[in-house]
């Protein structure tokens, strides 16, 4: 039993099911991020928690109380919308106070609460302005203020940063994180930006096609993706996924894959139980930072193996250089130190940290 429980919840529009049976239990003070590509049902799930969409079957509970039939206003939640949804006819102070007014809080108390929140968000000098006279970042703050002032059990955010420019987005991300650490309120946050998900969350639910693909801490999701979708979606540049065959040499399982040069690349696999898959085709998943130059490889790893391969392209990115080659017929990207002397056309030893490698079944796309 958590603080916010989503139990076997589903959502259908007519015959079309947009959210399949979902179970998530959120602890008090957690920062849960729902992440996934467009149309995967994130907003739908969030709106079901808010009470803006009906739950087709299953249950939403907050503090062990069934919420399905409770009006949004009585759930003690607050929500920040993607478009901010500030009331255009009211000034900032009235916008922030509106929720309190509707809940019958007397005027002096409202004013005090608005002052406190404005101070916290540093928008005191904006209180008398209309939303039309604010910049995007300021509107975003006001929208947050409107949510904060209610002191709710759960905060719901639906892509609150997606309308901001890149720089402001990073700043506001930090501020939201700070705010969460300061207030300790439970937050459910929707985004399609995997970086936002990884940096903000205490737990992530990766969604795709109306299913929760994986629920776990950022580290679990990043290091141990449950399937190829999660592996490919989380991380930037995304995880290299290429075809390989399992063979056993001297009792040690190894992955074999073709290289551009016509030779066979060989990488021993750390987990000995993989030997039982000998002869089978698998998808090998290795993150770009686990494929690097030999001197840049992780010194604590006991499973660094090199593969000599053709360099197709190099992409210097300041702090690192991304080096593209092809393993198993698929383009792969390695993350090399910036000052390594590597040019397109070279045959270069790629150092692979096999401790970080994961295997997927090519048919089911699930983890082996």
């Amino acid at each position: 039993m958590g603080f916010l429980d989503i139990k076997k919840a589903t959502k259908s529009y007519g015959a079309m099911q947009v959210l399949h049976e979902t179970n998530i239990s959120v602890e008090e003070g957690e920062f849960l991020v729902l992440v996934g590509p467009s149309g995967c049902g994130k907003s739908t799930l969030l709106n079901m928690i808010a009470g803006l969409e009906e739950v087709t079957s299953g249950e939403i509970a907050i503090r062990n109380q069934r919420m399905n039939e409770v009006r949004p206003a009585d759930r003690n939640i607050a929500m920040v919308f993607q478009s901010y949804a500030l009331y255009p006819n009211m000034n900032v102070a009235q916008n922030i106070a509106f929720g309190l007014e509707m809940h019958g809080v007397p005027k002096p108390k409202r004013d005090e609460a608005v002052r406190d929140v404005a101070e916290l968000l540093q928008i005191t000098q904006l209180l008398t302005r209309k939303p039309g006279q604010l910049s995007g970042g300021q509107r975003q703050r006001v929208a947050m203020g409107r949510a904060l002032v209610r002191d709710p059990d759960v905060f719901l955010f639906d892509e609150p940063l997606s309308n901001l420019d890149a720089k402001l987005r990073v700043d506001m991300r930090t501020e939201i994180k700070k705010l969460h650490q300061k207030l300790g309120t439970t937050i459910v946050y929707v985004t399609h930006d995997q970086i936002e998900a990884l940096t903000l969350s205490t737990r992530i639910a990766v969604m795709f096609g109306g299913h929760v693909q994986q629920l776990g801490t950022p580290k679990e999701i990043y290091d141990n993706p449950a399937n190829m979708f999660v592996a490919g979606f989380m991380g930037s540049p995304s995880m290299n996924l290429f075809q390989a065959k399992i063979a056993v040499a001297n009792g040690v399982p190894q992955a074999e894959f073709s290289l551009e040069s016509g030779q066979i690349g060989v990488l021993p696999i750390v987990d000995p139980s993989v030997a039982s898959h000998a002869g089978r085709s698998v998808i090998l998943g290795i993150r770009p930072e686990a494929i690097t130059d030999l001197d840049g490889a992780d010194r604590n790893s006991k499973a660094i193996h090199t593969v000599k391969a053709n360099v197709e392209i190099t992409e210097p990115a300041g702090s690192d250089t991304f080096v593209v080659s092809a393993f198993g017929g698929t383009e792969i990207t390695g993350r090399f130190r910036a000052d390594v002397d590597v040019k397109p056309g070279d045959v270069f030893p790629f150092a692979v940290n096999m401790e970080k490698a994961v295997l997927f079944d090519p048919e089911t796309e699930q983890r082996i």
């Binding site: 808010a50 206003a73 993607q82 901010y84 949804a85 006819n89 039309g132």
Partner: protein, 293 residues
């Protein structure tokens, strides 16, 4: 229009500009001429008009035709002037416009933000109602008014115009509110506002431009209506338009053209006034800043 040459795309030469302005001026005069004739002749004694020269300015300026049209002229059988009928029209048009606009706003709000099964059908029927010819409903409506005990009264006329007006006002507000961000309504719901609170505090304050359009439209139509007024009103509840007709057609003996002109201008003034006054509030951009961008 306003702005002139600075925002025209094509640069026009001196001669072509001259030609354009000449044509515009001619048309302008052509359209304003009737008004001029009405005003000028309403300020002349009758024998000046009879003596010909409709276009000439009055030699002896007089307001007598105006006061006669307003308070003493023969309307039908009684010599009351247009005053009581003007009052009837006001009593009819104000409630009809206010109520049909409010109901239109409420309908538009429900049809866009509180959708329900069959809402498009209901809206379709209302739209259909806009385009039913007036003549077709005359007899059923007379029967309805009789049953409701409103036959031959000003409230009866208000009711008729209300029924006809709601279709249009709903159409206006529905299309306007369709553009209104639904997230605002959802935010207000989470803030704890109910159905009417959202309407009153969020929707209505943002409805200025469309309300003005709706009011101008309704006011003009209802004020200028003749058919319903002639069909459903008694002598003492006739609107201005019907009274004006009676003034022009019923005078025994001499036709007092100057009085008729004055009466016609009186009948047209309120709509003009509404255009001038309401048009000033026709401000766009009230929605700016509620959502991104």
């Amino acid at each position: 229009m306003a702005g002139g040459a600075s925002d025209t795309v094509v640069r026009t030469g001196r001669t072509s500009r001259f030609v354009i302005y000449t044509i515009l001026t001619v048309f302008c005069i052509y359209y304003l001429l009737p008004l001029y004739v009405m005003v000028v002749n309403s300020l002349k004694p009758l024998d000046e008009i009879r003596g010909g020269g409709m276009l000439s300015l009055p030699q002896a300026w007089t307001l007598a035709p105006w006061s006669s049209a307003w308070s003493t002229a023969q309307i039908g059988v009684e010599a009351t002037g247009l005053r009581p009928y003007f009052l009837n029209s006001i009593l009819m048009v104000v409630p009809a416009v206010v109520i049909s606009t409010l109901l239109g706003a409420l309908n538009g709000y429900v049809l866009t933000k509180w959708r329900f099964r069959g809402d498009t059908i209901i809206f379709g029927l209302m739209l259909f109602g806009c385009f039913i010819p007036f003549q077709m409903v005359l007899i059923p409506m007379a029967r309805m008014l009789g049953l409701m005990g409103l036959a031959g009264t000003v409230p009866g006329l208000v009711f008729v115009h209300l029924v006809y007006g709601i279709g249009f006002s709903t159409l206006y507000f529905r299309n306007y509110y369709a553009q209104f961000p639904t997230e605002l309504v959802r935010a207000a719901m989470i803030d704890g506002a109910g159905f009417f609170k959202i309407f009153q505090r969020i929707m209505l304050p943002s409805s200025g431009p469309i309300a003005v359009v709706c009011i101008i439209w309704q006011f003009t139509n209802i004020w200028n209506d003749f058919l319903f007024g002639a069909s459903f009103a008694d002598f003492d509840s006739q609107p201005m338009t019907v009274a004006l007709n009676n003034l022009v057609s019923s005078s025994t003996g001499v036709k007092e053209y100057n009085v008729h002109f004055a009466g016609a201008i009186m009948a047209a003034l309120p709509t003009l006034l509404v255009y001038v006054v309401a048009g000033r509030f026709f401000v766009r951009g009230l929605m700016a800043g509620s959502v991104k961008g």
